[in-house]
Symmetry: C2
Subunit: 407 residues, 2 copies
């Protein structure tokens, strides 16, 4: 059961001029499920991406990086079922054949296609089924296809994830719509498999390349379900340029408004992944302040978010707060002065001066652990940088889902 | 249910001349359980220790380090129930009062006592109950008390852990006996809470200081249950000097025999902790070879051993081996050439050349995942160093145990 996450409503997802989406059942791994998505971009669109840091990065990720460096992107092909990761030379060929097939039906070149795969690792992609399915996906292309696409890219997700906003920047209407998938193997280190956000704003390529990293750092790079960085993480930002709002450089007026709006959509998608994390019953926001650097703050946030002991305590609504102190102590800060560390659960001060706060009462801690949304706040007392991490708890269902996944 | 681990038998635990152990019920946290252990060492004994790297290191750990640096150790006091960690200044006082109380009844000085605590973090140690219990523990002191002590130091352990060996080195009989506890919050980074190994050999203090680190690196520092380094990890090596076997320097004849024997006992205890890991149903040995350095090999081993996705696949006996590749790719080796990585499950070659091995058959992988003991072997193909990590799987019971622990 996702935590405080409603399914997207088709009517709330604004179309982005220049983007059409089509889905079909290609039977990649299982029959009777929509598992192939084609996204077509109008000429003049720009795209930028960030990808997994996992050394076993998937074949489609390798092809994406290459194609993004060479030219104008006109199409994205996304399959579920098989991740095409850990598939060696054969996997690379399958990703290339995917691009060639899409290029053929859209009359563009293969290097203008970005391929994405998600699903089981180390099994071969049945590329002939994907090729056979593409014409049906093309026939289904439509500007209001975001809702169907959000569904078609799901794997262990229990709910589709989409976010959309329309706003006026510098007097011009701008639309931003995005979709994402992911519930397990989630600790993005650049981005998560898979997030796609499109805007109709005009954004220069250098600014888009910069924006995709900055947005990822404030959204997908702040979440974790299980600490396992996937082989296929990809976050793609698209600017079709069909709006009149123009952003060519960092000093463009209203640049920060665009950035904030895109970050808002990406963050909503990233948090949706955590809310639908495998087996999740709680959504936890961890804020770490008083750090030397933002990286240090996030390292402490992740140390808390990855501790199985902390995650099971959240599941149990048990204010077993020593486990959080233990995790802070394990975050790799060699010169941490624990007497300066403060820990709050919601508004309740839990620990200070190296131990339990004098004012702390167990019943106050228990009360803040009850709700489905929990705020953890840490002040390291050694600097002014801060960072946030969003995560979920660890439940019986996490084990069940992952022990059963392939069967 | 511990994995292939039989309870120790009192008769198999050899006495170590110069060591007496006594246990009692002090009611530290719960009534009717033996929760206080006193270990008395004969004059002339030497002790050395390694301790947790967790910055929130427990009060008794801080006192241990101080006392080990100042003089001859004559007694150890171990309580369960409360970890006396995250307890600030008050916790330090409680640890010091513990030492003073033991010193008083044994007629030694407080700095000759090492205190140890294990249990819930961030709750105050009821030191007056501990003080009140010490005379009964003293009255119970006996040379054949290892078996009772192994039981009395347990917390979430389901089975007592002890190991013992008698051998002849250089014509002299040498005895080595040890006990340990731990089942969760186990990813020792120096040692695990709690391991105590004693020998009657004569070992000089510099050699003992060196030996305790080397032994820990080959035993307790190779295990993980959940990746959470405890606040209280302590491994203590004691040499009473009552045997005639004398080891004063690294070039002492037969030094390697002593080291191998002590490492063997420590490794048996360390593996016992994993076999009794919280909720464990499988025991997994991960060997990583072909690394640049031993640290690199162990980092890859731990990346595999800590992945919740890998651990749940072991629980399910599912050869979902892409998850292991994913974990290897996440181990932080920036220049890893994945085409050189080989992965075996037991004797079955699973992956090479960046993907599934041509010879690999799913049924062979499935067969090696079935037994309670699983061997994972990785060759990184980039050097000649190797390292081992022992771990267990992640089951429903892990979640159950940790969601229920305090209740």
């Amino acid at each position: 059961m996702p935590v405080n996450l409603n399914p997207p409503v088709a009517a709330n997802l604004h179309q982005v001029a220049g983007v059409r989406l089509g889905v079909t059942e290609a039977g990649i791994r299982k029959a009777n499920r929509r598992d192939l998505t084609l996204i077509e971009l109008a000429p003049g669109s720009r795209a930028a991406g960030v990808f997994t840091q996992n050394r076993f990065c998937a074949a489609p990720v390798q092809v994406c990086k290459q194609h993004l460096s060479t030219g104008e992107i006109r199409a994205l092909v996304i399959n579920t079922g098989i991740a095409n990761a850990g598939t060696g030379e054969q996997g690379l060929q399958a990703a290339q054949l995917t691009c060639q097939a899409a290029a053929r039906i859209l009359d563009i070149s293969a290097s203008q296609v970005l391929p994405f795969s998600t699903g089981v690792i180390m099994e071969p992609l049945p590329v002939e089924r994907l090729q056979a399915g593409l014409p049906a996906a093309q026939a289904a292309l439509k500007a209001d296809g975001w809702f169907e696409a959000a569904h078609a890219i799901m794997t262990t997700d229990t709910i589709a994830k989409a976010a959309s906003v329309q706003l006026t920047i510098a007097g011009q209407p701008v639309t931003i719509t995005g979709i994402a998938k992911g519930a397990g193997m989630i600790k993005p280190n650049m981005a998560t498999m898979l997030g796609f956000v499109a805007t109709d704003a005009i954004v220069s390529q250098p600014m888009l390349d910069r924006l995709v990293k900055e947005v990822a750092d404030e959204s997908f790079n702040c979440i974790t379900v299980d600490g396992d960085t996937s082989t296929n993480d990809s976050f793609i930002l698209i600017a079709t340029g069909k709006s009149r709002a123009r952003f060519e450089a960092i000093d463009a007026p209203h640049w920060n408004e665009l950035k904030a709006a895109i970050t808002g959509v990406a963050r909503q998608l990233a948090q949706a992944i955590v809310r639908d994390g495998e087996g999740a019953t709680k959504f936890i926001e961890i804020t770490v302040a008083g750090a030397h650097t933002k990286d240090e703050a996030k390292a402490v946030g992740y140390a808390i978010a990855h501790s199985p002991l902390v995650k099971t305590a959240f599941f149990a609504s048990d204010p077993n707060l020593g486990r959080i102190l233990g995790a802070i102590g394990n975050a790799g800060i060699a010169d941490l002065d624990v007497t300066k560390v403060k820990l709050w659960l919601g508004d309740v001060l839990v620990a200070e001066n190296g131990g339990r706060a004098a004012s702390y009462k167990e019943e106050d801690g228990a009360a803040t652990m009850k709700p489905a949304e929990i705020m953890v706040r840490v002040d390291l007392g050694r600097g002014s940088a801060q960072g946030k991490v969003w995560t979920c708890d660890f439940s019986y269902d996490y084990v069940k889902i992952n022990a059963d996944y392939r069967s």
